[in-house]
Structures are given as structure tokens and as C-alpha cells.
């Protein structure tokens, strides 16, 4: 039962690293224009799953489809923005030079490039620090610059691996506001997190543990189904505790 507005479809995906099974038969549909959260403890397989969606890894069995086309594909990767757990910035260059470099990789040049750089730096609120070397940036600023780079090519799908880890509550709030803003403009967002209260901010959630998807639904559904008041409780019940 494929929904008309399905943009990501994960079908029977399994992945092993050596003998260790990281993903066990995952099935998941993500719809266009939603904020989907992958919640689970570290080691649950969240990062591996989103890496496969970003085209950086392939499953041992099963398939991942984005816009009804099979991943990995370089064509599809142009429509996806990916922000990894590491900031992945060139510290000896300025923020502008970092942005310029990644923009060129997506084929953005000249006026359009300048315009996009200004736009994304406004979104993450770093306009005043555009020409500073990244080595002078604080941890939070690096995180936001990293996000800005992922937004440069106006991706239709944005994949964020632990985007707010190690970031203070005020900054976290402002980053989430940026996500909502992008979402209103139609970007589908996939966020991984192990922070329960952050999960409440997502439209739908997938709960992961030990490489399996133990439940999928809106935060309200998940809580109602388990008669619990918090996502944390729901997670424990689904997890069989």
C-alpha cells in the first residue's frame, strides 16, 4: 500500500558488519513533507540506516527507494542533504570558503552561489561570522555551519544525524525553529536522536533498538497505544521491559 506522497521507502533492509547484525529487516515509509524522527539508544542502527538513505552505504539485503528510485544513485544524492554526526568542516578555511567549496560541488556558481550562501547563513544565524576561519568557531557555531552546508543545494530531503548533540537548550531551540521553517517550505526532514524530549518535536517517530524497528507512529499514537505519559515510557514498553 504505497502512499502517493511516499518519498522514502525502506524495504526489508538488513545490514551486517562482519558477524554483527546492525539492521534487521527494517521496513519503513516516510512521507513527503514530514519531520520523521528515528529514536533509539546509541548502537541501535540509526546512523547506519540514515547513511544508507544518504547513499553512503548499501544494505546487505533489501532495498532503499527515494522518490521511487533505488538508492544509491548520484542523481538522487543531488536531492538529498546530509549532515553527519561529525561537523565535517575544513578548519583552516573560513566559513565562506567552506560554503563556496561545497556549493561548487553541487554545481552552484556565480550569483546564485552567493545568494544561497547568504540565505543559508541567515537561516542558521551566522551572517556576522561569514569570513571568520572555522577554527575560531565555537562548537555550536560549527554545528550550525555544518547544517548550513547541508542546506546549500536546497535539498528536498534533509537527513540529520544527531543534529543537536552537545548543544545547549537555547541553541537547540533555535535549530529546531530552523527545521520547522524548512519543513513549512516543503522539505522532508529525517532526524536521528537519542534524546526523548526531542522526539516529541517530530511529526512521526520510529523507535529503534538493536537494529530492529520496534514501533512507528506519531508521538501521541505511541503514547496512547501503550497507555504511557511520556515517549520514554512508551519506548520501554515497546522494548519489552
Amino acid at each position: 500500500m504505497r502512499n502517493e506522497s511516499t518519498c522514502i521507502s525502506i524495504r526489508k533492509v538488513s545490514k551486517q558488519f562482519g558477524k554483527h547484525e546492525v539492521l534487521k529487516n527494517i521496513n519503513l515509509e516516510i512521507y513527503e513533507g514530514e519531520i520523521f524522527g528515528l529514536l533509539g539508544p546509541s548502537g541501535a542502527g540509526k546512523s547506519t540506516l540514515v547513511k544508507e538513505l544518504a547513499g553512503l552505504d548499501v544494505p546487505n539485503s533489501g532495498e532503499n527507494y527515494i522518490f521511487q528510485k533505488k538508492m544509491p544513485s548520484l542523481k538522487l544524492m543531488e536531492r538529498v542533504g546530509y549532515m553527519a554526526q561529525a561537523d565535517a568542516l575544513y578548519e583552516d578555511l573560513t566559513a565562506y570558503e567552506n560554503l563556496q567549496f561545497f556549493a561548487s560541488l553541487y554545481g552552484l556558481k556565480g550569483k546564485k552561489q552567493k545568494q544561497r550562501i547568504n540565505e543559508v547563513m541567515q537561516i542558521v544565524n551566522l551572517m556576522d561570522h561569514l569570513h571568520k576561519p572555522v577554527s575560531n568557531y565555537s562548537g555550536g557555531m560549527k554545528r550550525r555551519l555544518s547544517l548550513a552546508i547541508a542546506l546549500l543545494h536546497e535539498p528536498e530531503i534533509l537527513i540529520l544525524d544527531e543534529p543537536t548533540v552537545g548543544i545547549d537548550p537555547v541553541l537547540r531551540k533555535s535549530i529546531w525553529e530552523a527545521f520547522y521553517e524548512l519543513n513549512r517550505k516543503g522539505t522532508t526532514i529525517i532526524v536521528t536522536t537519542h534524546v526523548m524530549d526531542e522526539a516529541e518535536k517530530c511529526g512521526r517517530l520510529g523507535l529503534m533498538r538493536d537494529g530492529t524497528m520496534i514501533a512507528v507512529g506519531t508521538p501521541e499514537q505511541l503514547k496512547a497505544e501503550t497507555n504511557s505519559t511520556t515517549i520514554e515510557e512508551a519506548f520501554l514498553i515497546y522494548g519489552g521491559a
Binding site: 544518504a54 547513499g55 553512503l56 552505504d57 548499501v58 544509491p72 544513485s73 548520484l74 542523481k75 544524492m77 543531488e78 538529498v80 546530509y82 553527519a84 554526526q85 561529525a86 561537523d87 565535517a88 568542516l89 575544513y90 578548519e91 583552516d92 578555511l93 570558503e97 567549496f101 561545497f102 561548487s104 560541488l105 553541487y106 554545481g107 556558481k109 576561519p133 552546508i149
Partner: protein, 342 residues
């Protein structure tokens, strides 16, 4: 377009990192200068003892260029020899002069022997001054060790530093996660490798021009051929070093592990580069030579700088180096599959 962006970024990073920039340019210059001073210093002046030689013999000897000590008996000379006051002495054994050397340093032995032989030439020829004239096919009697080692060292330094810097910057690309980010863009794997080749290639061209210019025109290293050939050869060896450095870096998890490859990958190449006589290398090992890139670069550099040869003598060496580079590039593209399958 994407390759250019990558090359520009690499050049920017090199220029920003002043210390590395200095290492790449001034370290080779410093070491070459030191070697120049060490090898092209004054000739060794042997300290020779003459034990009770009759005056009629010493008068005919050419006693210049050595420190002469005269002894009345052999025991005293032996004592001085033991404490290295003298390097050797000559004593008359009946009518035949015999030589006794201290003997612990081969180069001192050689210099002492050479001096004693030339000092006795006059004597042996009984005054007939028919000195042999010596001609050189290559080089000249002024050619010092530095001139002979120089081309090899030039090639070696370019190889060593480019290998290290390229490897380390690729490791950083991996450990900081930027490689993953590059691979999450539609950038193709060969574009990454080519971006590195061009970025470092441009820098290496500047680097080797400066180093070669300094060695030849400031240190007065022997230079019989054309400067442009030297640049072509150093560029070829730099390209090999770059692609090999990147390849080796995929077997290292951090910068320290990259350094650990130096004794395995870089140092052995010195042995086969012609710094030591290749003919005398044990058969057990001599087959390794043709597998080391520096072997070809050193041979070509020596052909140009010492022997004054041109393109027709060096092109095979250059083709081999380019062959190495292409091989390493292909292996690099394959190695990148570890991070992204397409």
C-alpha cells in the same frame, strides 16, 4: 568544475597552513644546504708519520697536503697511531717502503693511502715527470660527492615531503568526516582523486622549482642538462608520491600511523635510488629496485644533471613514473569504494 573546486580548496588549505608550507619548501632547502656543507667541505688532510726515512728520499717526496710528523723509531710512531695522533706511517722495510695504517675509518684510510701513493710517484719515476693525463666522459676532477648524491637527494626530498603531506591531508579528510561529506554530494570518486592530483600538482610544481633552483644556482650543484627536464622529472616523482601517499593513507587510521609507513615505504627506496652503488647490493635484495619509484627518478635526474642527457634518455623513466601514478590512482578509486559503493 568540481575537480577545480577541489584543487582550489587544497591550495587554499596549503597556503593557510604556514608551518606545513614552510616544511615543504624550507626543510628540503635546509637539509640540502647542510649536506652541501658536509660533503663539499675541504678535502681531508691526512696525518702521516715518516719513520726514519733517509733524507735523500724525503727530499724527492711531495710533502704538501698532509701533516707530516717525523719519527726516529717505529715504537713512537705506533704509540701515536694508537691514540690517533697520526693516521698512518711509512717505514722502510729494507729497501721497500711499507705502510702502516690506523685503519678504523675507511675514508681516512683511502685519503691516507692516496696521499702516500702520490707522494712516492716522483720517487718511483726517478724524476721522469710523465704524469698521466686523465679525461672524464662525465663529470670532472672537481666533481664532489654532493654533485653525485645531489640529484638523488633532490628527488628524494620531493618524494618524501609530498608523500607525507598528501597522506596526512587525506587522513584528515577521513577523520574529520569531510570525506564522508564529499561522498554525500554527487562528486564522483575519480573527481576526488583528480582534485587532489591537480591541487597538489600545482603546489608541487612551485615547490620543486624553488628547491631545484636553490640546489643548482645557490648551492652550485652540478647541472649539465636543461633545467626544464629537472622540473619534469620532479613533477613526475611528486605525482607518484602524491598518489602513493593517498593510497597508503587508507591503511592508516591517524597521522601517527601514517608516519609509521615511512620506514617501510620511504626509507627502503633510498637504498635503491643509487645513493649506494646498485651493483654491490646483495642479490637477495637487488630485485626490489625496479619496484621503487625513486629508482627511476634518481636515474633520470642523474642523467640530466650529471651526464647532461636529454629527453631521449629520460623519457622511459618518466613514463614508468607516470605508469606508477596511474596505477596508484586506479587503486585509490577502488579504495574509496570502502566509503561509497558508487
Amino acid at each position: 568544475m568540481r575537480v577545480t573546486a577541489l584543487s582550489i580548496r587544497i591550495l587554499r588549505q596549503i597556503i593557510r597552513d604556514k608551518r606545513t608550507l614552510a616544511l615543504l619548501i624550507f626543510a628540503p632547502i635546509l637539509v640540502l644546504t647542510m649536506l652541501h656543507l658536509v660533503f663539499d667541505g675541504d678535502d681531508y688532510v691526512p696525518k702521516v708519520g715518516l719513520v726514519d726515512l733517509p733524507e735523500m728520499i724525503t727530499e724527492q717526496m711531495d710533502l704538501s697536503d698532509a701533516e707530516i710528523t717525523e719519527y726516529s723509531n717505529e715504537t713512537k710512531a705506533n704509540d701515536d697511531l694508537a691514540i690517533q695522533e697520526i693516521d698512518g706511517y711509512v717505514v722502510l722495510d729494507g729497501q721497500v717502503p711499507s705502510i702502516f695504517l690506523e685503519g678504523s675509518d675507511p675514508s681516512v684510510n683511502g685519503a691516507t693511502l692516496k696521499w702516500i701513493q702520490s707522494a712516492f710517484t716522483n720517487l718511483q719515476q726517478n724524476g721522469n715527470t710523465t704524469e698521466l693525463e686523465v679525461d672524464y666522459l662525465h663529470g670532472s676532477s672537481d666533481m664532489g660527492s654532493f654533485d653525485y648524491f645531489g640529484p638523488v637527494l633532490l628527488g628524494f626530498f620531493v618524494f618524501f615531503f609530498v608523500f607525507l603531506i598528501a597522506g596526512v591531508s587525506f587522513i584528515r579528510e577521513r577523520t574529520t568526516g569531510t570525506l564522508e561529506r564529499l561522498l554525500s554530494t554527487p562528486l564522483r570518486k575519480w573527481e576526488i582523486v583528480m582534485g587532489y592530483v591537480f591541487g597538489f600538482g600545482i603546489f608541487t610544481m612551485i615547490q620543486s622549482t624553488i628547491i631545484a633552483w636553490y640546489a643548482i644556482y645557490v648551492l652550485d650543484m652540478m647541472m649539465e642538462g636543461l633545467f626544464i627536464y629537472v622540473l619534469v622529472i620532479t613533477l613526475a616523482i611528486a605525482l607518484t608520491a602524491l598518489t602513493l601517499g593517498i593510497l597508503i593513507s587508507s591503511f592508516a587510521n591517524n597521522e601517527l600511523q601514517m608516519i609509521q609507513f615511512i620506514p617501510i615505504v620511504v626509507i627502503p627506496q633510498i637504498f635503491f635510488s643509487g645513493l649506494f652503488n646498485l651493483e654491490t647490493i646483495s642479490d637477495w635484495l637487488s630485485w626490489v629496485g625496479p619496484f621503487t619509484p625513486l629508482y627511476y627518478a634518481a636515474d633520470a635526474l642523474r642523467d640530466v644533471m650529471v651526464r647532461g642527457y636529454g629527453w631521449s634518455e629520460i623519457y622511459i623513466n618518466i613514463l614508468v613514473l607516470i605508469g606508477f601514478s596511474i596505477l596508484f590512482m586506479i587503486l585509490n578509486i577502488i579504495a574509496l569504494r570502502k566509503y561509497r559503493k558508487i
